[in-house]
């Protein structure tokens, strides 16, 4: 006589496979979220780098009347001379001097586009402009 009972492995297997599948889906979702965070962090760090580059140059130029400096930035920056602040889309930095203006001589808020920029110090002012 042969007893051939059906095992309950089928149900358990389905359950386990479902749990593992959900685990993979969850891991993938976490991976996607972290990858997105990483891209945002990298963009923020790049902008911050440009921002600090300008802030440093502006502060140094204040102490060197007649000097000029050209370099490249990779992100557009908004300079607020009155607020002594440089702002980009996801980052900002500050500088301790007030004598900033744009190429037209205005000390109102202005934008510097990505690309080569020129920073010059003359007449007691530091001028920031695209070249």
């Amino acid at each position: 006589m042969m007893k051939n009972k059906k095992g309950s492995i089928a149900f358990e297997a389905v359950t386990i496979i479902f749990i593992i599948f959900m685990l993979f889906i969850g891991s993938y979702a976490v991976y996607q979220q972290k990858a997105r965070e990483l891209i945002l962090s990298k963009a923020e760090l790049d902008e911050r780098n440009d921002c600090l580059h300008i802030a440093n140059a502006v502060t140094s130029m204040t102490m060197m009347p007649g000097a000029s400096l050209n370099f490249t930035i990779y992100n557009a920056m908004t300079v607020e001379p009155a607020g002594q602040r440089i702002q980009s889309s996801s980052s900002f930095c500050t500088f301790p001097v007030k004598n900033i203006r744009n190429s037209t001589g205005s000390s109102d808020r202005f934008t510097v586009n990505a690309g080569r920029i020129s920073i010059t110090s003359e007449d007691g002012y530091v001028t920031i402009s695209n070249t």
């Binding site: 042969m2 009972k5 600090l52 204040t62 500088f95």
Partner: protein, 165 residues
Amino acid sequence: MKTLIFKKAQLFSIDGLISIFFCIVMILFIMSLWNLYALRLNENLDSEEMQLLSFQITDVLMKYEGSPSNWQNNPENVSIIGLRDETGKLDEQKLNTFIQMNYTEVKQILNIERFEYQMKIRDANGNVINSSGINASINAEQVVSTVRLSLIGNITRQIELTLWK
């Protein structure tokens, strides 16, 4: 007569559950580690920004005459604070005026309203001669100090600027 009994296997029930449990623990561990490093990165960025500001401020104070250059006679109208005199040394009158200036006003001019500061003047042996600002709190999250050497008259002095928050 031969009897064959097919018993249920226990492979999935125990081994499977244990491995899934460890898998979840590992994922949670990796996620918490990630968040910890993200937090540390932000703290480092804050600290670096304070260091850079501290360097910039001491640079301007010690290498620039200020704007206007005789601002010490009328400190209400100062645009940029600088402590240097025409010879490149520190101007004692400017230094004294700076130390006596209103704390909040100095923070506004130097654009460090997000932080607190303290400036100490020390002699060559490190003894504090004069100071202004607020001493860093024990509970401060970040404290950054920059020390520069300079001449006041012909005497060597250490200028220490501490930024904290």
